[in-house]
Symmetry: C2
Subunit: 228 residues, 2 copies
């Protein structure tokens, strides 16, 4: 039996898109939501898209986190810290938390093209302060367009992976490589998430101005830098 991936806030567009892609790649995916019924409905809908053999279930966020080895945060920033505190008692001691959260000002009524200042420097660094000791935190999957993830097309976006724990970096690089078109790139320390998170607000500004679904590619690195 493969490890489970819990996608918290997985009924939102980013979470659903990642769930769809990873389920398609054969991963066991648990969609987490505040509302277990909504999670279950999203899981059933996704199964119809991906196929009956897909390993997708839906659970309330805490139950999903408790059942998983990999916990992916795809909630708006405004609910992020509260959810993290809620699930903290049930996180497995050897779990990996993948944080995709961007501190968009929109999450507190501001603009989606602007970000909030985070005392720790980035949401991912805040997460690292809040998780139980031993739980690894990795920042990744901030910049891919939800529209693209929720389709069958190749995702034209590189995934910049930031962590202070090599095993967590590895896990995120591997999950990036499982999505057609995506390439994972080790972008160094968790603190570098500061910039990776901001990039999403810039991509949103480009999407609004030019009516697109933008992503980024990193050029000029040796082939060994790209996973996928």
């Amino acid at each position: 039996m493969s490890r489970s991936i819990a996608i918290l806030g997985g009924t939102g567009p980013e979470g659903l898109g990642l769930a769809r892609r990873w389920a398609k790649a054969g991963e066991t995916v648990i969609i987490g939501s505040r509302d277990a019924a909504r999670a279950d409905e999203a899981a059933r809908n996704l199964k119809e898209i991906v196929g009956a053999t897909a390993q997708i279930s839906g659970m309330e966020n805490s139950a999903a986190a408790a059942a998983a080895k990999i916990i992916v945060f795809t909630v708006p920033f405004s609910g992020h810290a509260a959810l993290l505190k809620q699930i903290k008692p049930v996180i497995k001691p050897d779990a990996v938390v993948i944080d995709t959260t961007v501190p968009l000002a929109a999450s507190v009524g501001g603009r989606a093209t602007r970000t909030l200042g985070i005392w720790e420097g980035s949401v991912a660094q805040q997460t690292a302060e809040l998780v139980p000791k031993g739980v690894a935190v990795v920042a990744a999957f901030h910049n891919a367009s939800a529209e693209s993830l929720n389709s069958d097309e190749s995702v034209e976006c590189d995934v910049l992976v930031c962590s202070d724990q090599p095993a967590a970096t590895e896990a995120a690089l591997d999950l990036a490589a499982k999505i057609p078109g995506m390439r994972g790139i080790d972008a160094g320390k968790l603190e570098n998430a500061r910039t990776v998170e901001q990039i999403t607000a810039l991509l949103i500004a480009l999407n609004i101005k030019h009516k697109g679904h933008s992503g980024i590619r990193i050029t000029g690195l040796p082939a060994s830098a790209y996973r996928g």
Copy 2:
């Protein structure tokens, strides 16, 4: 006679690379330096590379700024504000200032993979507060690798252009399109330079980790969004 482009701090690798590419495209380029003799030497060396018909001269920074319609800042952040104050009296009232400056912590003895906090939000926004009224400021050309600019190869990097003045955005988009491989993209307001400047520190981190000369490409926008 075409307008002149003054590249202040143009004896550094980024400035020299831009001078080389724009001179090759037929632009009239003035390399600015604190030291007129160094500027002149750099101009003569560059002429040997680009060809005898290239329009390249070298001048002290203030003289270069006074002679130009487009003034490009390619100095380290530590010397940026002082240079701007120095040239302020001679900037033409209808000049365009293109700011490529990244607030790398390295400019004050820290790491090149980290940035300093700028009160105004970005170096370019600080510049906009310091220039004479009427002078347009545009942030651009932060992310291209100097190694790539100083070669004859295609520059695999998009140029994110941020300004509150459409004519300045146009000027920078056009200059991006003159460099083979580069594409200019209107990235909206000057405030968006906050993220574009940070991206350079992240690319430096990638270069160190993976031993490359990285750049960025923006995917997923309609063709009309790309100039070049």
